[in-house]
């Protein structure tokens, strides 16, 4: 931009995109009225459906491309199928999907174990980064957790002892 005010001379690019006519801007700038023809464009070639794809009930047809990894399966899959009976406007859709996600986490652990892989959950949570950059907090958390477990064990064992004593007397 020519004649950049002195105040902004140090800011590279100040004012380069000033455009008083840029209104309304994106996302309605390029409105072309084509919407009124609804779903009538010339469609791309259609991807072959090789796995189960869940489709929104608000989508009248499968789009030309879609992702195929991780099709629904197991209990989480059944819940996802149920969720897709609801529109995207309903809690029944999204809350069931969130619940399915949590069930899927347990299924993932079971799947790991069935494939002979014991998941290293600490490593998956990035404990190495904590050890490198956040050691003090990590150690503090570990000490607090250790202390809590110790206290819990002591309290539980003492209760057991008392119970045993009462039973004997």
């Amino acid at each position: 931009m020519e004649n950049v005010p002195e105040k902004y001379k140090d800011i590279k690019g100040w004012g380069i995109d000033v455009d008083p006519a840029n209104n309304p801007t994106y996302p309605i700038k390029k409105y072309n009225g084509d919407d009124h023809n609804r779903l009538n464009w010339e469609r791309p070639p259609l991807q072959l459906k090789t796995v189960e794809i869940l489709t929104s009930v608000e989508h009248p047809r499968l789009p030309a491309v879609f992702g195929t990894p991780n099709p629904p399966r197991g209990l989480s899959g059944a819940l996802r199928r149920f969720a897709f009976k609801f529109s995207e406007s309903e809690y029944g859709h999204w809350l069931n999907l969130l619940l399915a996600d949590r069930i899927n986490v347990v299924e993932g652990v079971i799947d790991d174990l069935m494939h002979g892989h014991i998941p290293n959950i600490f490593a998956e949570k990035g404990i190495k980064a904590d050890w490198k950059y956040n050691r003090k907090e990590l150690v503090t958390k570990a000490v607090i957790a250790g202390a809590a477990i110790t206290v819990f064990c002591l309290v539980t064992s003492q209760r057991k002892k008392r119970k045993n004593k009462r039973a004997k007397s």
Binding site: I11, G13, D17, W41, L54, V65, G67, L97, G126
Partner: protein
Amino acid sequence: MLAMNYRGPYRVRASQKAEPEIQHPEDVILRVTRSCICGSDLHIYHGLVPDTRVGTTFGHEFIGEVVEVGSQVKTVKVGDQLLVPFNIACGRCSFCKQELFSNCHEANPEATAAGGIFGYSHTCGGFDGGQAEYVRVPYADVGPMVIPPDIHPDDAVLLTDVFPTGYQAAEMGGIRQGDTVVVFGAGPVGLMAARSAWFFGAARVIIIDRVEYRLEFAKTFAHCEAYNFESIGDPVLFLKKQTGYYGADVCIDAVGCEAAGSALQTITGTKLMLQAGSATALHWAINSVKKGGIVSIVGVYGPTDNLIPIGNVVNKGITIRADQCSVKRLLPKLISHIREGYIRPREIISHYVPLEEVSDAYHMFSAKLDNCIKTVLIPPSAKR
């Protein structure tokens, strides 16, 4: 191939999985050379986006080399170095024709409320992402672009999302010369939004966050005023005072669903998940903008409901503009801005991490360790 593998909230690992295959005549397979972790990846990493399935590979900011092309790909060939916008767009539907490439109607079977996005849950089409050695890229002739030889690969990878998204945030604000612009969030997108606000002739740019090292970085990278909301009291009142009790002309929400700053929002939004994330930044944006002002939203929220002061939107006559970024639309202009030396997006990259260490990379970014701003993952095949 090696790929990032989602195992549940806060749990990811790098593991072997099958290489992607051509599934559509307009697909290409890309050997990834760089991929970034985006701030919005943290929302799926934290388990906040519905239909994020275990086994998914995240990653919607990536570049790479074409190794295989589908039978109907016309403009892209094996060996091309591509930058790939995060949106999957057909280029033919009514929405693409209006350059709403993030709203393509031919890329997402699972939802109509969102377009197709690489590696961003089945709610965004169920595509695997680019935090892997290889990735399937649909509609290769439409969105992707051959990286110009004079564009640095690190700038190229930031052109796939973060720079265009930040720029679009400023653009949607309809900033006029002399405006005061407030950006909520000093993460990568907020930094780019603040930097871009000057391009539109802003007179004053203010950024609000609570992470001190990011605020310090914002002062130099984005030349803006930076304030920690934990030390200014009520941010809305502070901003009113800063603007002569008038309000900002434009407010940008570059935070989205994991905003801090309100216990009520945090508990109901991110802990109990009774709303689609914590909408604190949006709440502040609506209440800080002037009457008749514009609120531009690029922060990501979930698909259900959020507690925001919609009554104030009505009573103040606020215009809200929002969308996922239409990356392809902006590429020519933003490449030109880089060439002209107006901005060097790669200055925000703080970490390069091997893909093998993806668990640590995610945790580091999520917990903001080691002054992390932007992380680039390098797959093992890219080192060869």
